[in-house]
C-alpha cells in the first residue's frame, strides 16, 4: 500500500475568540499548515474538512481561493478529525491524488453539548427526564471503573493537574495556568466524582495538516512524519456507551479497544513502541480508562503510574503533552487534528518548553465520543 506522509501542520489557538468565525479559524490553520509545508493553496489537490457547528467547512475556499478542488465535509462526532485524516490518507493510497489537506474547525456555544435525543434514535422521554447528558455518563463510567480497579479521587485530580501543568507550557492552549491538584479536587462538583476542573469545555479553534504520497515528501520537507495508521470504529454489543437507556449484562470491548488493535496491526507496532501519547481526556477519568483501552497499561495500574509521574512530559509514557482536551477545550471538528499537530511537533523535536526528551520516534493519538465512536492515529518519523 502507498505510504502517506504529513509534511505540514497548522493550528489556530484553542479558546474563545469573539467576532471570529470558525471558517476564518479554519483558513488560518490551513495557511499555517501550507506555510509549514512550503506550499501554496493552489498546490492542494483535494481536502477533507470536519466540523460540528459549521455545515459547510468547504466554504473555507472563499478565504483561500476558488481553485475548484474536490473538498468533502465530514462529521463523525468526537472522532470527526480522525475520519478526516483517515479519508485523506485513503484518497492518497487509492492513487487519486498526491497532495491533500485535512482540516477541522469549530466554534461552540458555552456549556455542555445538547441535542435532540430522537436524532440519536433514542426516546424523547430520555431527554425530558434529564438523562440525555454526556458528562453524567462519563462520571458513571469512571465511578464503576474506580470501584472495579481501585482508582482514587486523588488520581483523578492528579490527571487534571498534569493537563493544566502541560497547558501552561503551550502558547496555543485555552487554559494556560497550572491548577494544583488540591484545588481541582475541591472545586465545584459537577457529576460525582468529577469536579468542574476535571471536565473539558466545548470551545473554539481549528487545526490542519497537509498530507502527501510518502515518496514525494522529501521535496517539501527534510523531516516528514509518516502516517502509519488511522482507524475509526463504532461500538459493538456490550460496550458501555454514552446515551444508553439500558445495557446488557455482558460487557464487550470498547470501540477504542477495537480501533487501537486495528491501528497497531496496520502500523506493525505495539504500545511498547510508542514514545508520545495523546488520549481523549473529555474528563480526567476518561484519560485513566483510555490508558488501559489503548494498551499502555493494565486496568488498575494507572493509580501507581500516575502517582509516580509516569504520564508527565519527562515520564516513560508522556500523555497529552500539550494539555489535552482539559487544557485546550474541545472544538469537536479540530480536536483530533490538534492531537496530530502536537505529535508532529514532538517527533520533529519542535515541542519547545514541552518537548519530550529522548528523540521520540512514534506518536499515538486516540479520539472517543458519542454515541460510541473511536479513532486512533499512529505516526512515526
Amino acid at each position: 500500500m502507498t505510504d502517506v506522509a504529513i509534511i505540514g501542520v497548522g493550528l489556530h489557538p484553542f479558546g474563545r475568540f469573539p467576532g471570529k468565525s470558525a471558517i476564518e479559524m479554519g483558513a488560518d490553520a490551513i495557511r499555517a499548515a501550507l506555510a509549514d509545508a512550503g506550499l501554496q493553496w493552489r498546490d492542494v489537490q483535494f481536502a477533507f474538512g470536519g466540523s460540528y457547528e459549521v455545515d459547510n467547512p468547504d466554504a473555507v475556499v472563499n478565504l483561500l481561493g476558488l481553485t475548484g478542488l474536490p473538498f468533502t465535509d465530514v462529521y463523525n462526532g468526537c472522532a470527526t478529525a480522525a475520519s478526516a485524516i483517515s479519508l485523506a490518507a485513503q484518497t492518497i493510497q487509492l492513487g487519486a491524488y498526491d497532495i491533500g489537506v485535512a482540516v477541522g474547525m469549530d466554534k461552540h456555544p458555552v456549556g455542555a453539548f445538547s441535542a435532540d435525543p430522537v436524532q440519536y434514535s433514542l426516546p424523547s422521554w430520555y431527554g425530558e427526564l434529564g438523562l440525555f447528558l454526556t458528562p453524567k455518563f462519563f462520571a458513571m463510567k469512571i465511578q464503576r471503573y474506580m470501584y472495579d480497579h481501585g482508582i482514587t479521587r486523588q488520581c483523578l485530580a492528579a490527571v487534571a493537574a498534569k493537563a493544566y501543568r502541560n497547558g501552561a507550557r503551550n502558547p496555543n492552549a485555552f487554559r494556560k495556568s497550572p491548577i494544583p491538584a488540591e484545588q481541582i479536587a475541591e472545586s465545584r462538583m459537577v457529576n460525582d466524582p468529577l469536579t468542574q476542573y476535571m471536565f473539558c469545555s466545548p470551545d473554539e479553534g481549528a487545526a490542519a495538516i497537509v498530507l502527501c504520497k510518502a515518496d514525494i515528501a522529501h521535496r517539501f520537507t527534510p523531516n516528514p512524519i509518516f502516517l502509519r495508521a488511522s482507524e475509526v470504529r463504532t461500538r459493538r454489543y456490550g460496550a458501555f456507551e454514552v446515551h444508553s437507556p439500558s445495557t446488557p449484562l455482558q460487557r464487550g470491548d470498547a470501540p477504542t479497544t477495537d480501533a487501537s488493535r486495528a491501528a497497531y496491526e496496520r502500523a506493525g507496532l505495539g504500545p511498547e513502541d510508542v514514545d508520545v501519547i495523546q488520549l481523549q481526556d473529555t474528563d480526567a477519568g476518561a484519560e485513566i480508562i483510555h490508558m488501559a483501552e489503548n494498551g499502555f497499561c493494565k486496568d488498575g495500574e494507572q493509580e501507581q503510574l500516575i502517582a509516580d509521574g509516569a504520564t508527565g512530559i519527562d515520564g516513560p509514557m508522556p500523555i497529552n503533552t500539550d494539555g489535552g482536551l482539559l487544557a485546550n477545550g474541545e472544538p469537536i471538528g479540530a480536536s483530533g487534528l490538534r492531537q496530530v499537530h502536537e505529535l508532529v511537533l514532538q517527533l520533529r523535536g519542535d515541542g519547545g518548553d514541552r518537548q519530550v526528551p529522548g528523540n521520540p520516534k512514534v506518536g499515538y493519538a486516540q479520539l472517543y465520543g458519542a454515541p460510541g465512536t473511536a479513532g486512533v492515529t499512529i505516526v512515526s518519523r
Binding site: 435525543p117 462520571a139 470501584y147 445495557t247
Partner: protein
C-alpha cells in the same frame, strides 16, 4: 416487538449526581436555575436481565453506593401544558438497602 416484564428490584451498578440544570429542551423538568436541586442517576442491575438507567431517589442519608439494593417507584415528574401529571419510574433504596 415483544414486551418483557423486568424485575422491580435490583442493585446499583454505578451512579453519579447531576449537579447542574440540564439544557431545555430536551429537558422538561419544572425547575429553574434558582429552584434546581441536584439529583442522582445510575444504572441498576436487574439480576440475570440487564442494566437500566434511571433516576435514583430517596437517598436521604448520603449518596448511593455500588451494590446497594433498590426497587422501582413511580413518581410525579411534572405537570404538562394541559394540566396532566406526567409520571416516571425511578429506583429507591429498599428497606434492606436503607439499613445497610
Amino acid at each position: 416487538m415483544e414486551v418483557v416484564e423486568l424485575s422491580p428490584t435490583g442493585t446499583v451498578w454505578t451512579w453519579t449526581s447531576q449537579e447542574f440544570l440540564p439544557k431545555a429542551p430536551p429537558y422538561a423538568g419544572e425547575e429553574t436555575a434558582e429552584t434546581f436541586q441536584p439529583y442522582y442517576v445510575g444504572y441498576v442491575e436487574l439480576e440475570g436481565e440487564l442494566r437500566v438507567e434511571s433516576r435514583l431517589v430517596g437517598f436521604a442519608d448520603g449518596p448511593p453506593h455500588i451494590g446497594q439494593q433498590v426497587q422501582t417507584v413511580v413518581l410525579r415528574f411534572r405537570t404538562d401544558e394541559e394540566g396532566r401529571e406526567v409520571m416516571t419510574y425511578a429506583f429507591a433504596p429498599t428497606e434492606e438497602g436503607v439499613t445497610k
